[in-house]
């Protein structure tokens, strides 16, 4: 089943935030962000800005009726700066005007006098200064110190991954309309409607029940609208409440890039120890996460880095420590993979470096150490593994040995071009690592004409979650999908939602829809049994008809629904689902945090132009563990899109901040994401149906985040190609592998 939104998408009829018809009298907001990355505000001069005709009002922190606080995990982030600014672009004042142009022009007239304070952009420097967002955490298993004494090979090094701009094509935005009784209707392009509602209530000083957050869909999110959508929505709500006028703010791309956080960059130390047979005996890692100026989601991102620090491998002795470092950059945040990719990159670098020093292909070490069912992760959960199955299927199906020989032959025959190959196994845990968030609710109405409406806490942002919700209901009621409408995500209909994140929205909300639909279906079957005067057990509903045993009866879906209504039987249900069996004790860092894991293996081949340092990705061949996909066309799209986003992170997407904390890659002209020519020429995806039971909706495993990590393979394939040209290359383990790094790697030698 294709995406239910495809029809309006392709016709340009889909309504995104900036397309909502505006109420007469709507005002427009624009934020004045700090021009420097760190300092004390001596004076803020709004006079010139206020003189501009059309400027209605300019708000500062003093105007906030409630708390000036939007920090989610740690209350360390003011909505508007008070005395100090902590990053370039930090909101200082909010201009509201009668047109977007006027609001923007007024922002340019605001003057500020700031006493500069030292700017830190490097997480290692921050850690040395004791500037942490939260206390460090350590995951450990076994005894690494003892294990290293038994290792034949010990390799140490540094690995780095840069940040990543989400670049949802729809920028952040919100639209607030004041209502009766101090209420606000808030349209927000957010993945977390409840977060918007909760923080808006805090800032406005009103209870949550007066704030209706409504989300129809997002023009892309990728984690960038999980916590980072909140402030823009609150700005609108604040102005709307205080001015009693509708207020809208749809960010300009350069505002969005400058003022919002990105994927957390990491700098990490690793030490890996192997036995003579290449078994990894011990692994130590220290992660320095660049959190930016406020905690945002960084502590949770950091936690997932630790969960995934051994990727798809079993390592009996692990010690991983992670520091969430406070720097003078915009608060970094969730991005597809949520710290997992950053952790996995480091162990892949460690394996690659060990392989190089030992003189074996990395794949030998990778394969030797794949995690098996029953093996323990460093956090205590026992694996139910498909790692070996995915690896073996990939290497046999795609004839790995032949691919390897092709690369070697090509490299022997060519000077100007070299090819590289890599394998990238992945393992990703599904569930929010904060156990309490693994709950969801669904509200299902069956109307008297037989049509059905569904509300859940899931936000549609292109991943097809609404289509999957619809499939669940269509399947359980056995009705034509055209009979079902999935409604916007709305905090008046579904309360206390978890954000649409962690790849978990389809599972959590889908299970809630399943429960709600089943309860209604049960009641309908009772009614049918009464009408047909038969045993309730023999009744099924199939294709909008009621069946008695194998035979269709005269009773249709519509008639049954109407009959139930006449008999005063409820045609609505609000259902709750909480993932069973999850627990995690952060005091000992052990537990069972994940409902299940998703596995897969990618084989990547690339060609490097050794004259120019440019490159092409020849092929990525993937075997992915889907459980049993409930929608192959949507799931395939998630794999393709996730992979390419991961490739972008590993290759051309380079965030550049200067020493003053100013974003240099601040527009699409300076920050490049993959275009249609830069994707792999061949992309093959094999759907591995795995038979182990899992907690996914209809056993269809979560698919949002895991494929991004296949992109890591591109980094190592490129590195291998560089090494094929210049075996003495000093090329290190620092992503992204830009054409600059490739060219410098081809022509410089030395230690990495």
């Amino acid at each position: 089943m294709t995406n239910i939104d495809a029809y309006t998408h392709v016709r340009g009829e889909t309504v995104y935030l900036d397309d909502i018809p505006e109420t007469a009298g709507t005002l427009y907001a624009c934020v004045y962000g700090s021009p420097v990355a760190h300092g004390r505000i001596r004076q803020l001069d709004l006079s010139e800005a206020l003189q501009l005709p059309g400027v209605v009002r300019i708000f500062t922190s003093k105007d906030i009726p409630g708390k000036n606080q939007i920090g989610g995990i740690v209350p360390d982030e003011p909505l508007l700066a008070e005395n100090e600014v902590h990053y370039n672009g930090m909101p200082v004042a909010l201009v509201v005007a009668t047109s977007v142009e006027t609001a923007q022009a007024a922002v340019k007239r605001i003057k500020i006098d700031i006493e500069p304070l030292p700017v830190i952009t490097d997480p290692r420097v921050a850690q040395k200064n004791g500037s942490l967002l939260v206390p460090p955490r350590t995951f450990s298993l076994g005894d690494t110190t003892a294990a290293f004494t038994n290792c034949k090979y010990i390799v140490e090094g540094i690995a780095e991954t840069n940040g990543q701009e989400h670049l949802y094509i729809e920028t952040q935005g919100a639209y607030a309309i004041p209502g009766e009784h101090e209420s606000i209707k808030l349209y927000s392009s957010t993945q977390g409607p409840t977060a918007v509602q909760r923080h808006a209530a805090d800032v406005l000083g009103i209870p949550m029940h007066r704030i209706e957050v409504d989300v129809t869909r997002l023009g892309g999110g990728f984690g960038g609208k999980e916590d980072q959508a909140t402030s823009w929505a609150i700005f609108c709500a604040l102005a709307a409440m205080l001015l009693r006028k509708p207020v809208k703010y749809s960010l300009h791309r350069m505002e969005d890039m400058r003022m919002t956080g990105k994927r957390n960059p990491y700098s990490s130390d690793f030490k890996i120890g192997l036995d003579i047979d290449f078994t990894i005996l011990a692994y130590e890692a220290t992660f320095y996460q660049n959190g930016g100026a406020a905690a945002d989601l960084s502590p949770a991102v950091l936690e997932r880095t630790l969960f995934h620090c051994t990727n798809s491998y079993f390592v009996p002795n692990v010690k991983a420590t992670a520091y969430s470092c406070r720097t003078n950059l915009p608060p970094n945040t969730a991005f597809r993979g949520f710290g997992g990719p950053q952790g996995m990159f480091v162990i892949e670098a460690a394996i690659a470096k060990a392989a190089e020093q030992i003189g074996v292909p990395a794949s030998v070490i990778q394969q030797r150490n794949l995690i098996q069912t029953g093996d323990e992760f460093s956090y205590g959960q026992k694996a139910e593994s498909e790692a070996v199955e995915c690896w073996n299927k990939a290497t046999s199906l795609y004839e790995m040995e032949k691919l390897k020989a092709e690369v070697e032959n090509f490299n022997a025959a060519n000077t100007l071009f070299k090819k590289g190959l890599s394998l990238m196994p992945i393992c990703f845990g599904i569930s929010f690592t904060k156990t309490l968030m693994n709950q969801a609710r669904a509200l299902v109405h069956v109307y008297t004409d037989g049509s059905i409406g569904i509300s859940t806490g899931a936000v549609e942002m292109g991943q097809g979650v609404n289509t999957k919700m619809l499939q669940v209901a269509a399947n359980i009621f056995s009705v034509d999908p055209a009979m079902i409408k999935v409604y916007s995500t709305n905090t008046y209909r579904i309360a206390n939602t978890s954000p649409t994140a962690a790849s978990a929205a389809a599972d959590l909300n889908g299970k809630a829809v399943e429960i709600a639909c089943e309860k209604i279906a049960d009641r309908l079957k009772d009614v049918a049994a009464e009408i047909l005067k038969c045993d309730r057990k023999n009744i099924t509903i199939n294709g909008q008809k009621v069946f008695l045993g194998k035979d269709a009866t005269q009773l249709t879906w519509k008639e049954l629904v109407m009959a139930a209504y006449v008999k005063r039987v409820s045609l609505s249900e609000h259902a709750h689902y909480a993932t069973p069996g999850l627990h995690f004790d952060a005091t000992i860092e052990k537990g069972h945090p994940f409902a299940y894991h998703v596995y897969g293996t990618a084989i990547t081949t690339v060609t490097v132009d050794c004259l120019r340092g440019t490159y092409e990705i020849d092929a990525v061949r993937i075997v992915h563990d889907f459980g049993k996909s409930m929608n192959t066309i949507i799931d395939k799209g998630q794999i393709e899109g996730g992979l390419v986003q991961g490739i972008g992170w590993m290759t051309m997407e380079e965030i550049v901040y200067d020493a003053e904390g100013r974003l240099r890659s601040n527009a699409l002209s300076t920050y490049k994401v993959p275009d249609i020519y830069s994707v792999p020429k061949l992309l093959d995806i094999h759907f591995l149906e795995t038979s182990n039971d899992n907690l996914a909706i209809f056993r269809s495993k979560a698919v949002g985040e895991p494929p991004l990590m296949y992109g890591i393979g591109t980094f190592f394939a490129l590195r291998n190609a560089v090494k094929a040209f210049n075996p003495a290359s000093g090329i290190g383990y620092s992503a992204p592998m830009t054409p600059e790094k490739v060219l410098m790697g081809l022509y410089t030698s030395g230690n990495d």
Binding site: H9, R664, L668, M744
Partner: protein
Amino acid sequence: MVHFILNNEEVSTALPSGMTLLDFIRYRKHLTGTKIGCREGDCGACTILVGEIKKDQLIYTSATSCLMALGNAQGKHIVTIEGINIEGLNAVQQAFSDEAATQCGFCTPGFVVSLTGFCISGNTGYENAIHSVNGNICRCTGYKSIERAAHTISNLVAQRNDADRLQFAVDHKMIPAYFLAIRERIERITVVKSKPTVTQKRLGGGTDLYVQQHEAMEHSSIEFLFDRKNLNGIKRKGSVCEMGAAVTVADIAASAIFQSHFTSLQKYIALVSSTQIRNMATIAGNFINASPIGDLTIFFLALNAKLELTDGKSHREMALRDLYKGYKLLDKTEQEMIEKISFELPGKNDLFNFEKVSKRTNLDIASVNSAIHLVMDGDEIVSAGIAAGGVGPVPLYLSKSSSYIQGKRISASLIDELVSIAQSEISPISDARGTEKYKRLLLSQLIKAHFISLFPSLPLENIIITA
């Protein structure tokens, strides 16, 4: 007043002609299918089609409406996604839906418009279908499903044979039937040639001005140059090629004169921005912008192009290489504008090559670019022109390097010497496009790439090891 046809509606507007077409479409006509992604022509979410009569044919090209002035729509047919909707889905829309080539959907109207543009462009083939969307960025799909949709569409277009482009497209549900009457309707549009009394800005295609000075443009009185007859056209006069200042990159790519004198022309052009931008960006705009990395500037510097400038009264000629005095500093008065560009077409014994490396190969600004023009006598270089961008405050003509190799024979050691002389002529700085060290190395490599590309039979591969 600006008069044009927007989808199926005649429009006359007194709004400022300098406002962007995007703002007009979205916020004045409330056609919200055209999306805003970046407002700098780098994402394609606001792509529209522009229909105009050229050489007695109604031609449609794509453009990013965020960089197009309302005034540049004068007398044309502007088509948004709403303007290609028919009852049910059109062929491109159906292919996108079938292949799940839309996820969040925000970029989708741009892709659909671009690909519909391909359907009525006269081009055929899968590669051209892909070229039509090379200025469209999608963050969700990874493009593979879009490639599959483009396959379907190019197969459909391949059935056109000799049929009329528009009639075929209407018959095959690619566009609505009203397109068939557009030509007549365009011809009926009043031609208003009102030159502002006080000109504050001159405007070509807008692809640079609207990125840099978006707000100023809306409130300026503008002299529109893009469609001026005397500033358009590519002509050959003997061995000289003459071009109007408003000739676009797309005009150059389509020019038979260029195609016959530059065998790898399409390869070079593919490295210059995107299809949408190439349809809008003018050659004089590229020169006057004075960006140190202007692709066409580098191209024509190596060819020793000549400019004809006018201030409305008098004319003067100068070499392109004399235009640049310092960073964004030109040897040109406020009143002067480029009217004509000319250069000696490469002859039988001439060799030409253009190289460019950027973070992303396509639709990106160069880290370093370079062009070379050699006149050969056997393996002896009679004369040489080498230009390089991204390695100094202005687009550089490497005069020392160029003259050093004149009269010499090609050899590995000559290239080595050339590379070190080139290094003495440049002064790159570190920025978002690369470090100084990288840009220096890259220029050396691109100079080597020129010779390896131009002399494939010479044993030059070893020169890359000597870096």
